[in-house]
Symmetry: C2
Subunit: 137 residues, 2 copies
């Protein structure tokens, strides 16, 4: 079962209610940008400061316990770190989904035509999610 306090401790971050809430919101929603996190935490902590969100998100990113996902034509979102995966971005509704596909073929292609040593491969697909395909019919 998912336990945000344990997670925070593992990464040497003191357990505070605000941090727990950040982690749990991300766990529930998958991907959120700074402002979505702020709006969401405001409900639980009416006097929480945006600065607190920034400080904590930055701290968690530094501990490599959150990842920043940069998205074409939109604000970055954050997600809990997990095994390598790619992202599907719906241009119509903005929804972001994870997708687990094998991208290692690409690394092989790079290796055959270049001397570049690949450490990390990020893939972002833009297009239309299945909900938006239906509703546009």
């Amino acid at each position: 079962m998912f336990n945000s306090s344990v997670l925070l401790k593992e990464y040497d971050l003191k357990v505070t209610p605000q941090r727990v809430a950040i982690v749990e919101e991300l766990y529930r929603n998958g991907h959120m940008n700074i402002d979505e996190l702020y709006q969401s935490l405001l409900k639980k902590f009416p006097s929480i400061s945006l600065a607190t969100i920034y400080k904590n998100v930055n701290a968690m990113v530094e501990k490599i316990f959150l990842n920043e996902v940069k998205i074409p034509e939109a604000k970055s979102v954050y997600e809990l770190a997990k095994e390598e995966h790619s992202h599907l971005i719906c241009s119509s509704c903005g929804k972001i989904e994870d997708i687990y596909i094998d991208t290692s073929v690409l690394n092989d292609s790079v290796a055959t035509i270049s001397d570049f040593k690949v450490k990390d491969t990020k893939v972002v697909f833009s297009g239309t999610c299945s909900d938006c395909q239906k509703s546009s019919k």
Copy 2:
């Protein structure tokens, strides 16, 4: 031969010396962020304004004649639009290279496990360029 005036006209942008310079710098350097463009144009136009750079880059991006490339842990860079390609980012020196590999296999993988309709696939590889591999030996 490369002709920036023709290019600007094709995209319904008035040909000004500043715009020509932006296009030519990008043509020569491949990828530049806003500040690099500004510093570079300052040499030719000592009184050019950052606002002019922003306005023009934004206009060119809207005309889909420049692309913004979002890079992990660095500022976005801009490049002249060209056929679809991927990017190699050297984590050591920051250099950005284009690489032309076929990414359509990934779209097939997505299609088999998801209903998402892919329109565009962006791939960014991070790692070490060949120069930096040599110099670290």
